[in-house]
Chain length 458, copies 2
């Protein structure tokens, strides 16, 4: 079975592929917000129908949260497990979007054509690169060169609460020779990448309560404790002047990267001035003495993702509020234990809370970092295939993001994962005006066709 | 003209007075929010019509913001200027109200009957105590014992931007022998009070901008500066460990209260454990070594009234936001200069902002503290009149709140103000479930009748 005719078909059917992707993007499947539960369900239904239209035996599988989509199609070669997620991030602040986030449009830009909308890059557009590669392969050859299991999640953006139980219950069905995960990026627009190091994640929400009700700052100000002031002091204490996180034992299990690996990263010529300059910044904000790639790929972080308390509307209100809260997430590396860090964080916050206030904690996701073993020959086969599609040689890289599913595939299915994706740094995922380059979508599908070919060539 | 028949009429017409007050309370005149501009206008119209129904020559007077209401009625004795405000605070968080804030209801409580709703205590209910006293007086005697000018503002809760120009333009018309301001409280439910010290106010809003757009904390976290972290460090630096404000020169012009005044305050037997206990607190949060009354009446404060940044919705979003902002207000005392403190605050914030971030300032209200001169015999006449109405002797007290109009009357009209009001500490002004005791409303109107009598008796 030749890959050339598949590539040609991917080229000729690009307009149709884009229309299909737009249909999926129009479904506002925001998993973290209960108001969009029906939309998540609808996105799952759309994927089931789309897989079925290609001859895949697919179904929606219920969970206590949003459903999983599982599809199987038989073939002669190895068994591949393909993972993507159909849920998306919230879209606020909505007024910073140039168009409706759920009415995707193709735009011409100075860097080429793009598709703009929530989920274009994270992860519906990426997910569909693989689906479109399979569709073209089946259209050309009547069948696939290997057995493929499609596995699409609907809770990736909300901490994947149903993922581990689902994998445990369905391990025999989902176990494969290798997993392909499409939720990462290119190294840059010329250099494709296989991501082999991913940071873990810990998410915590804290609420400080002072007075039992909002107070008038004239009547009580000066005498009564303000929970925003307490919260500020706690959050300001989480980093020292050198950018290091101060939570006790936070750095336990954080490895120093070997000198030869640091040299390889150095050789990638990453331009941190350009990276930060794209978003209006110029100075590295992390630990003093570390390079940008170290900060992003191999060092843990503590970030405040949201804070709120008191009056935030137009004008002014001299209120002394009852409550103030913050959402804090940690990116973890190496052997850092998210549960130990959660305990240590909560103890530190509790210790910093004056006895007149109370603190309530709400835990969200928690996952360890993961490091892929690239001994499996599939890694080098995929790297060569990617290099054939893109201008420059593909690289093995780290990633600052957290894709816990790779670790779960390892531990619960015994399946190693290859993380290959086509996102770019300026895709604005999780932000207003998210986009995905048409080139990413098009060459992404072509890349998967080449990888399928490479992994199944006898 | 006897006051006894006026008091009897106030008693018998209480049900009608309450219905009138409820009508005014149903108008949602939130001055700080432009969405309620028409409601503010409507409240002014209602007051004009109500004054006219009593024979007062009243009209709505335009300003660049919400209108003023001015009414005159002639009489033989001295000329009194009565001030109240018809605008109210916002009502959020709305879900903490037990009923619709703009559908006022009388409730029976263990402490007696109350009227619940936004503006009941601050300031529509208080304003109407004076109007009802005048109405009853006119109904009994056909005229008032003195000339009265009614002056109602609609921007008190939003920094009074139009007040100073209006007073300057209309000084000749508004100048009186003494001003009566009804926007303060009783000392406690037995002890009425004339407030002779008021704190000033400075309001500032700051917005820190880091990256030009919201970022993904996986892709940028660790390398890019998070504006929430910057904001937290700035706000946490505003107080030291002893509760003192750290802004350079902040305490310039703050007087130490003389020992004999502190002794008078001590003699009032203020129970700070009960005061804080009512709102679920137990410890004084202000400067170490100061009493509660000192903290509230005679010490300046710095309070964060609102903070916001990043994702505050349900669930979690691992965003590294572009902006974070806070609303900060200062209560000022003695000779503290709000403009000098604004400059010093802005300089300190600017100095604490890393060069990769920008800070934008928005100034809201700024007013100096005011201290009344009680040499005018009207103060002692009013004190005796109040003492006749309430269980215990009336007291001259300080207040933690800011009522800049008293200072403006002093400097722009040359008119001294007596601040007399009937609010209680548990009225929850500026908070959900604001209320005003029926006793405050009823005995408030009776108090004004007695004060009118005392000030005009020959």
């Amino acid at each position: 079975m030749s890959v050339d005719s598949v590539l040609a078909r991917i080229d000729s059917s690009l307009p149709d592929s884009l229309e299909r992707l737009k249909e999926l993007l129009r479904i506002p499947s925001i998993s973290t917000d209960p108001a969009y539960k029906d939309a998540c369900d609808k996105a799952a239904d759309w994927l089931v129908a789309d897989l079925q239209s290609m001859g895949v035996t697919a179904e929606k599988r219920p969970t206590p949260g949003h459903p999983m989509v599982v599809g199987h199609i038989d073939g002669p070669g190895p068994h591949l497990l393909f993972y993507g997620h159909y849920d998306v991030q919230p879209v606020d602040p909505l007024d910073l979007w140039d168009n409706d986030p759920f009415d995707p449009q193709v735009e011409d830009t100075s860097k080429g054509k793009i598709l703009r909308g929530r989920g274009t890059a994270d992860d519906k557009g990426q997910l569909m690169t693989f689906v479109e590669a399979c569709r073209a392969w089946i259209a050309e050859h009547g069948s696939l060169p290997c057995k493929i299991t499609f596995f699409f999640e609907g809770e990736e953006e909300s901490g994947s609460p149903s993922l581990v139980p689902f994998l445990k219950e369905n391990a025999a069905e989902l176990k494969a020779d290798i997993a392909l995960i499409c939720d990462t990026g290119l190294f840059d627009s010329r250099v494709p990448a296989i991501t082999t190091m991913l940071r873990g994640m810990l998410q915590e929400e804290i609420t400080i309560t002072g007075p039992t009700r909002d107070l008038h700052s004239g009547m009580y100000g000066g005498a009564a404790m303000n929970p925003i002031r307490v919260l500020n002091r706690i959050l300001a204490a989480l980093h020292d002047d050198q950018g290091r996180v101060t939570i006790p034992d936070f750095y336990d299990g954080v490895p120093e990267i070997p000198a030869d690996v640091l040299q390889q990263w150095e050789a990638l010529g990453f331009d941190h001035k350009a990276f930060l300059g794209d978003v209006g910044l110029s100075d590295l904000a992390g630990e003093a003495g570390r390079s940008a790639l170290e900060m992003i790929w191999s060092r843990p972080t503590c970030e405040i993702n949201g804070i709120g308390g008191g009056y935030q509307g137009e004008g002014f209100k001299t209120v002394l509020p009852s409550k103030a809260s913050a959402k804090i997430s940690f990116r973890l590396v190496g052997q850092q234990d998210p549960h130990a860090i959660r305990d240590s964080f909560r103890q530190m916050v509790t210790d910093l809370t004056p006895k007149d206030c109370t603190v309530a904690f709400k835990g969200h996701g928690a996952s360890q970092a993961s490091v892929m073993s690239i001994d499996n020959p599939a890694f080098e086969q995929a790297r060569v295939a990617l290099s054939a599609e893109w201008p420059d040689e593909a690289a093995f890289i780290g990633s600052g993001g957290s894709i816990p599913v790779a670790g779960y595939f390892q531990t619960l299915l015994g399946t190693e994962s290859m993380l290959i994706g086509f996102g770019k740094d300026d895709d604005q995922i999780h932000s207003p005006n998210e986009k995905y380059d048409i080139e990413s979508f098009h060459k992404g599908a072509r890349s998967w066709a080449r990888i399928l070919d490479a992994l199944t060539r006898t």
